[in-house]
């Protein structure tokens, strides 16, 4: 068939770039199909959401530390309906709590580390000109954006934003105020967005790798994005189904999650009944456990990139790490009911889920161990990204280890739904993933802007964040041990709450100080764009392909399509002149 000849290939999805080299502002920056512009959009939007989610929690922490006392200065700015006299109402507290979780998980961290870093760095690291489906990539961002707006719009619904926790347990969420409906619609958008994004990632990694870049030459970060994309692809749809079912319960009056004979505030509910409240938890955690790994795996990937570059040493146990990653991803689908031990679970099924939970801890240990052993006999360069990456290791270890007593059903009886759980998963996600994301920002900033961030400000940012983030989360373990339940508006109603109130106050002050500690980062982030030191294409002297492209890379990324000759982390190779051996250079060129 003559039509299949080469020149027809130019009529691919983005052929119009040939015809119109000068794209208008809208096409260039807003409806761009360039993975880098989309990546930056994702990252900036996600950072905005992270800041927003964090400011919500900083407000909450006043009520926790000084219950019933008016919030100084800022409290006066709030409407009398949510904070009369500057004192937060419990329903506003619950709204803030639910929205903090939702914003951080679904609008902040995942879009930052997957949508932002994944979109920007992954195609560069595999030597691709763009994502496999650039238009779908753009759609993914805009659907996410709309989802975020819908989520925020729920603050304006009568009765305030969703207030049933980020887990939205039924029947509470079904009987909750209108904000919950917005939450569900927002979730449907976000799930659709991550579905579009994840299939794009998978296809890109499978189809668009540069010549010579076999799977076992992929940077660890690309592997982490690959596994993450599979988790998003297969774990999110059940939550979409669950969100539809909950919408039906709320809007059409069905009883999927509503058992017979509910009496709310003395009023017999009109639901026909026959539903199962636990069905929601199954469908929710079927997503949300893999989601935990979605939150952490790209973080591990970024840390691996930063550590290898700054130890000037190959990654220890690269293959084992990849196998562990795949195994983690696989196992994450069969551990979810460990979030449900105390819903009334029998011995056999709880033992099953506890066993899978213990098994899944091993690959995490393997990855962490490999990263630490990489430090052995290396030459550690204490750059700002490296500081964040190094801090990630012990703090992720704390997060991981404290998961152990929660995974043992008997110990979970005491610790479930206490602050211990909060401390545990925040250690994984906040000093874990967010520190990894900071490492990533400092590491790839020169690639995105062509300028490096200020190291002095970076170090101030690091040390302040490191100290205060521990001040926020360590007290939570002691509160949890004492039996303080999570999501309490005022723990001092309980004697055991009163006794550990000191820890709460410490945690609150930690949070506010942590907020202040971000000022150097925000300044650094913006000022360096104009005033940062101009750097070469490969300022860190790294080996992976993204550093072979110009900084910032043009649309289409590489001037010449790179060919890959070796593994991703060939540092300090004996017999070479420099201490790094880029993937795309031949022996002669190096």
């Amino acid at each position: 068939m003559s039509h299949g000849s080469n020149d027809h290939h130019h009529h691919g999805p983005d052929h119009h770039h040939h015809d119109h080299p000068e794209l208008g502002w809208w096409r260039k920056y807003v409806f761009s199909t360039d993975h880098k512009v989309i990546g930056v959009w994702y990252a900036v939007t996600a950072l905005v959401f992270l800041l927003l989610g964090f400011s919500l929690v900083m407000t909450m922490r006043w009520q926790l530390a000084y219950p019933g006392q008016p919030l100084p200065v800022i409290g006066a700015l709030f409407s009398e309906n949510v904070m009369p006299g500057g004192v937060m109402l419990p329903e506003f507290y619950n709204s803030l709590g639910a929205m903090h979780g939702t914003i951080m998980v679904f609008l902040g961290i995942v879009p930052l580390i997957v949508g932002g870093f994944g979109n920007y760095v992954m195609p560069l690291q595999i030597g691709a000109p763009d994502m496999a489906f650039p238009k779908i990539n753009m759609a993914s961002y805009w659907v996410y954006f709309v989802g975020g707006i819908v989520m925020l719009a729920s603050f304006f619904a009568p009765g305030g934003a969703a207030n049933s926790g980020w887990t939205s347990y039924t029947p509470l969420s079904v009987t909750a105020t209108a904000g919950q409906t917005w939450w569900l619609i927002g979730m449907v958008f976000l799930i659709t967005s991550s579905l579009l994004g994840s299939l794009n990632f998978i296809v890109t990694i499978i189809q668009l790798r540069a010549n010579g870049l076999s799977f076992f030459r992929l940077p660890f970060f690309v592997w982490s994005q690959f596994v993450t994309a599979f988790l998003l692809l297969l774990a999110f749809p059940p939550l979409e189904a669950a969100a539809v079912l909950q919408l039906m319960d709320r809007v059409a009056g069905s009883s999927f999650f509503m058992p017979t004979g509910l009496v709310v505030s003395g009023v017999v509910q009109s639901y026909t009944g026959g539903g199962s409240p636990l069905l929601w938890q199954h469908l929710f955690w079927f997503l949300a456990h893999p989601e935990v790994y979605v939150l952490i795996l790209p973080g591990m990937g970024m840390v691996a990139e930063v550590i290898t570059s700054n130890t000037r040493k190959p990654l220890w146990g690269y293959r084992v790490m990849v196998y562990s990653l795949v195994f983690l991803g696989f196992m994450s689908f069969i551990v979810w009911a460990h979030h449900m031990f105390i819903t009334g679970m029998g011995t056999r099924i709880s033992a099953f889920f506890a066993t899978t939970t213990m098994i899944i801890s091993i690959p995490s240990v393997v990855i962490l161990t490999a990263l630490v052993i990489t430090l052995y006999r290396s030459s550690i360069r204490y750059t700002v990204p490296m500081l964040f990456a190094l801090a990630f290791l012990p703090m992720f270890a704390i997060g991981g280890l404290t998961g152990l007593p929660l995974g043992l059903p008997a110990a979970d009886i005491q610790l479930h739904d206490t602050y211990y759980v909060i401390g545990h998963f925040h250690y994984v996600v906040a000093p874990g993933t967010i520190f990894a994301a900071f490492a990533g920002i400092y590491h790839w900033y020169p690639k995105v802007t062509g300028r490096s961030m200020n190291a002095a400000l970076g170090k101030i940012h690091f040390w302040l964040s490191f100290i205060f983030i521990n001040a926020v989360f360590t007290p939570m373990f002691f509160q949890g041990m004492a039996g303080v339940s999570r999501r309490l508006y005022d723990q001092t109603l309980y004697q055991h709450g009163v006794e550990v109130q000191g820890w709460t106050i410490m945690s609150s002050w930690g949070a506010w100080m942590l907020g202040l500690s971000q000022v150097p980062f925000i300044l650094n982030f913006f000022l360096s764009m104009r005033a940062g030191r101009k750097v070469a294409d490969n300022p860190w002297e790294s080996t992976t392909l993204e550093w072979a492209a110009p900084s910032p890379p043009p649309h289409g990324n590489f001037a010449t399509v790179p060919v890959v000759y070796r593994g991703p982390y060939e540092y300090s190779v004996p017999g070479t002149k420099r201490d790094f051996f880029p993937q795309h250079l031949t022996k002669a060129e190096a």
């Binding site: 068939m1 039509h3 299949g4 027809h8 290939h9 130019h10 009529h11 691919g12 999805p13 983005d14 052929h15 770039h17 040939h18 080299p21 000109p129 763009d130 496999a132 489906f133 779908i136 579905l195 994840s198 299939l199 998978i202 296809v203 499978i206 189809q207 668009l208 692809l233 297969l234 999110f236 749809p237 059940p238 979409e240 189904a241 669950a242 539809v244 079912l245 039906m248 059409a252 009056g253 069905s254 009883s255 999927f256 017979t260 009109s270 026909t272 009944g273 026959g274 539903g275 199962s276 069905l279 199954h282 469908l283 079927f286 043009p554 649309h555 289409g556 990324n557 590489f558 399509v561």
Partner: protein
């Protein structure tokens, strides 16, 4: 600014043996399996856990008011549309554009028949029945409306895509027939999946 053209959009990747669109479609279908899987899982859980008496009890055959005749008719309609879909692709593959387009039009017609039958003989009579059968009636109807509704939305999505390729999308054939044929193949994969879901929905909702 020069832009490198994305490889493997039309021709299969020499190593993975598939062009990007087809792989993407299959991945999308994998996630769809999980979406409908969650609904089927909910069906099993709710049906097994339903009370044995009272208004929330699972309805018997007489109480479901679903006619296997209409369901069966729609099953046949979807199966025929699957055949016409695959025939459309086969004819395009054999370079018979007119015939392929005809089959595509037939698929579109059958898809719309399915929706019309669904609305006219099932949804509307149930809503207007006295008393009406609604999602709030019991969990059988709630599941029936949710599952067939979601499936119906998928059919509607298929209608839009097929209509696009019959209309403005068909220009692509004159530029790059192979690319167009590939797109029809991906549409077909989706369409067969919609058929496949119905193959399970029919016995589960109408017969069991």
């Amino acid at each position: 600014m020069s832009v490198a053209v994305l490889p493997h959009t039309v021709k299969p990747h020499p190593i993975t043996g598939v062009y990007s669109g087809k792989l993407g479609t299959w991945l999308f279908l994998a996630s769809e399996v999980m979406l409908f899987g969650a609904l089927f899982s909910s069906y099993v859980l709710l049906r097994v856990g339903a009370p044995h008496e009272g208004p929330a009890a699972w309805p018997t055959h007489d109480q479901t008011h679903l006619s296997w005749k209409i369901g069966g008719l729609n099953t046949i309609v979807l199966i025929v549309s699957s055949v016409t879909m695959v025939m459309a692709w086969a004819n395009l593959k054999m370079n018979k554009f007119a015939k392929g387009k005809m089959y595509l039009a037939a698929t579109l017609g059958l898809a719309m028949t399915f929706i019309i039958v669904k609305l006219a003989f099932e949804y509307i009579p149930k809503f207007t029945h006295e008393p009406p059968y609604l999602p709030s009636t019991n969990n059988f109807f709630a599941l029936y409306f949710t599952m067939t509704g979601l499936h119906g939305l998928h059919v509607l999505g298929g209608v839009i895509v097929i209509a696009y390729f019959l209309g403005p999308g068909s220009k692509l054939w004159h530029r790059d027939p192979e690319y167009f044929t590939n797109r029809i193949e991906c549409t077909g994969l989706y369409w067969h999946f919609v058929d496949l879901v119905w193959i399970f929905l029919f016995p589960v909702l109408y017969l069991l």
